[in-house]
């Protein structure tokens, strides 16, 4: 059957199993939006839901949140030019955190490309360094294959965002509609099975180690390998730290869990890195926020590194035993070759650090401590909520003071550190998990960056609970200025913040403002019970800092603060 390009795109998305698209309309995408309308008109029961955010950045973050919860590629549909460029931050966020995403942008007609046409941007060029792959569809005959390949590339191997730039004339060019059942890209064959001899060597090293440490990362979550990861940790009984991106891979209530490592990580995890004689890195990438000063990182440790991306191995640190493969396939092989490790003294040492140096804060009777808000949310939800965060102090407190129990329930921009990510990501998460409690922890700086998405929450009747830890500062910036710039608070004062509760009201979202510790628990209970979205503006202690902290350029065991 002959179809137009725009209709083939929608049919292909349906074939691909897409249920929800996030985006924003515009000139160069009108054919596609018309095709979507007609498709949904003809498929009343099984159409494709379109969620119109109020700015394209919101659409990309929402698709990202949707992808993190479901494991499937989030889909974005926007127009050319400014519609596309507004997606740049969201695409870069997904790329840095390896989130599967397919972004479809309208493009000016082929004959106008390069002419500085109205709303024209070379978007393949703009996004080249921040996508896993990209396509400019020149011929309608290629379209179905391009869609098939785009999803395959986005979702397999080390996942990431893929762009399909779709010129307006190709949208109405006709060709035979045929769905390619298989994909074969000769330059793209992710290696899934670990090399058996390497895994054997790793097993031997693990059984010989006196002070082994498991260092798990986001790859475990992305690879849906938490069960296999837990089995490995529980069988070997090796102390384990899981990064900001991997939170939930191992329940943090587990005795072996040392909480997250790094700049604002736990003393237990950081001391363990510096003292261990073997690191078993699983789907993690030795990021600078984790390692501290590289030259002083884990001075006594040999390193085993399991990762699906060969380029992640030996990039920052020298790896003794590289294993390229999918963690879900490599871990069971490794688990079978090992036993419980005979390292009681080391386990005891780690447990002592953990007990002695928990994340702590001092509650006050007259002012709310930000950490207290996180701990109350934990107390109410017991790890059952999906948490999205923005970026800054509140993000670190949410990482530290919540007990992360399950994977795919913690959405945070770890790599790019994108302020404005949280609320739209929570929106996407709520669509993916309509029956779950979705809480967005934000700050008074971050929330303003995509506050327009309150309109989307109201329109779509999404129950997201946004909790703003409001200290009237760009808190993390202020903290660095206090500690490193002799209290010169340059461009970080936000005392002229608007009234967020009233803003929420104006959007048709329930707004609340909480200032006293006694109000906190009842207000949270009320917000979580409310049938509809809520914005809680929680006024917290202005000058509270995130501790412990590894100063830039210091080794992990030179961390400051966080002691009783």
């Amino acid at each position: 059957m002959k179809l137009k390009g725009c209709d083939i795109l929608i049919e292909a998305l349906k074939k691909q199993g897409v249920e929800t698209i996030f985006g924003y309309s515009g000139g160069a995408a009108l054919h596609i939006f018309d095709a979507l309308y007609k498709f949904n008109d003809a498929h009343k029961e099984d159409g494709i839901q379109f969620v119109m955010t109020r700015q394209e950045a919101g659409a990309t973050h929402a698709a990202d949140g949707y992808a993190r919860v479901t494991g499937k590629a989030g889909v974005v549909l926007v127009t050319s030019g400014p519609g596309a460029t507004n997606c740049v931050t969201g695409i870069a966020t997904a790329q840095m955190d390896s989130i599967p995403m397919v972004v479809i942008t309208g493009q000016v007609p082929s004959n106008l490309i390069g002419n500085d046409a109205f709303q024209e941007t070379d978007f393949v060029g703009v996004t080249r360094p921040i996508v896993k792959h990209s396509y400019l569809v020149h011929h309608v005959e290629d379209l179905a294959r391009v869609v098939r390949e785009a999803f395959h590339i986005a979702e397999t191997g080390r996942p990431g965002p893929v762009l399909i730039d779709f010129p307006k004339d190709v949208q109405i060019a006709e060709t035979e509609w045929e769905w390619p059942e298989t994909v074969d890209i000769r330059g793209y064959k992710p290696k899934l099975d670990g090399h058996r001899r390497q895994v054997r060597r790793a097993a031997d090293l693990i059984m010989q180690a006196q002070r082994p440490l498991v260092y798990g990362g986001g790859g475990i979550v992305l690879g849906d390998a938490s069960p296999e990861f837990r089995e490995f940790v529980w069988k070997t009984q090796i102390p384990t730290t899981v990064t900001l991106m991997g939170l939930g891979a191992l329940p943090e209530t587990d005795p072996l869990a040392l909480k997250m490592p790094g700049m604002h990580g736990s003393r237990a995890a950081n001391y363990a890195f510096q003292d261990c004689d073997l690191i078993i890195a699983v789907g993690s990438r030795f990021d600078d926020r984790v390692t501290g000063k590289l030259e002083k990182f884990a001075p006594n440790a040999k390193i085993i590194h399991i990762d699906i991306d060969p380029s992640a191995i030996s990039k920052n640190v020298h790896v003794d035993i590289p294993i390229v493969g999918h963690v879900k396939r490599v871990l069971p092989m490794l688990t079978e070759m090992v036993d419980k490790t005979d390292v009681d003294a080391w386990r005891h040492q780690c447990a002592m650090w953990k007990e002695r140096y928990p994340f702590r804060f001092e509650p006050k009777t007259d002012v709310i401590k930000p950490q207290q808000v996180i701990e109350e949310i934990w107390d109410i939800t017991r790890g059952d909520a999906i948490l999205a965060t923005d970026v800054g102090q509140h993000q670190m407190w949410a990482g530290q003071h919540y007990q992360h129990i399950e994977p795919r329930r913690w959405l945070t921009s770890g790599g790019l550190g994108t302020m404005g990510y949280g609320m739209p990501a929570a929106l996407g998460a709520q669509l993916a998990a309509p029956d779950d409690l979705v809480v967005c922890i934000s700050g008074d700086g971050s929330i303003m960056m995509n506050i327009q998405e309150l309109a989307t929450l109201a329109t779509e009747k999404l129950n997201v609970k946004t909790v703003i830890l409001n200290n009237n500062w760009l808190g993390m910036v202020r903290q660095w200025q206090e500690l490193l710039y002799e209290e010169r608070y340059s461009a970080s004062d936000l005392h002229d913040n608007p009234d967020f509760a009233r803003i929420a009201d104006a959007f048709g979202v329930k707004g609340m403002r909480i200032s006293h510790p006694d109000e906190l628990r009842p207000a949270l209970d009320e917000a979580f019970a409310h049938d509809g979205p809520v914005v809680m503006d929680v006024m917290v202690d202005e000058m509270e800092n995130v501790y412990p902290m590894v100063p830039a350029g210091a080794a992990l065991d030179e961390m400051v603060g966080g002691l009783a």
Partner: protein, 181 residues
């Protein structure tokens, strides 16, 4: 890291890529984005019109070159990466040199051209244009010999290279060799 591993070396890397829109930009963008060096780069179609061969000359220490090969491999349009540096291989570059050649010097210049087994491809009243193919050392030597006469312009192609012996690709790409441990 061992001293030898930290030393920067010149590497010649052969990259088989899909012959399609934007591939060259992707490779160039990767090198600038990651801060890798390109000393020279050539590209042309292979026997299979769907594939192109790029020959990249770069330099860096062992870790940098390993990352370069891995990052190239990671590109979807890259089919195979082969570091020819430590494999038996032949490498060649072509140069066109336009040199001042007043009639008084013309004979000397043509003698030099013959000694280098290069040839004159264009004659004009005041200049000669010389073509030569060879390795880097030979080309540099010819340019140096002609310099005293006044070299007006030099155009070099950048290097192409091929493995010696029977096999078309000397060794598997860097990414695979890590996998194989």
């Amino acid at each position: 890291m061992m001293a030898a591993e930290a030393t920067e070396r010149r590497h010649i890397i052969s990259v088989l890529v899909e012959n399609q829109f934007g591939v060259l930009a992707r490779i160039a963008s990767l090198f600038t984005g990651k801060g890798f060096n390109i000393d020279s780069l050539t590209v042309a179609e292979t026997l299979d019109p769907g594939l192109s061969r790029m020959t990249v000359v770069t330099h860096g220490n062992v870790a940098v070159i390993e990352q370069t090969c891995k990052q190239l491999n990671k590109l979807v349009d890259v089919v195979r990466v082969t570091d020819l540096t430590d494999e038996p291989h032949v490498e060649r570059e072509m140069v066109l040199i336009k040199v001042n050649a007043e009639s008084s010097h013309r004979g000397e210049i043509i003698q030099i051209v013959e000694v280098f087994r290069s040839r004159v491809v264009d004659v004009a009243p005041r200049t000669l244009t010389v073509e030569m193919t060879g390795d880097e050392g030979k080309i540099t030597a010819l340019v140096n010999m002609l310099r005293p006469y006044g070299v007006v312009d030099v155009v070099r192609t950048g290097k192409v290279a091929i493995g010696r012996g029977n096999h078309a690709v000397v060794r598997e790409s860097a990414g695979d060799s890590v996998a194989a441990g």
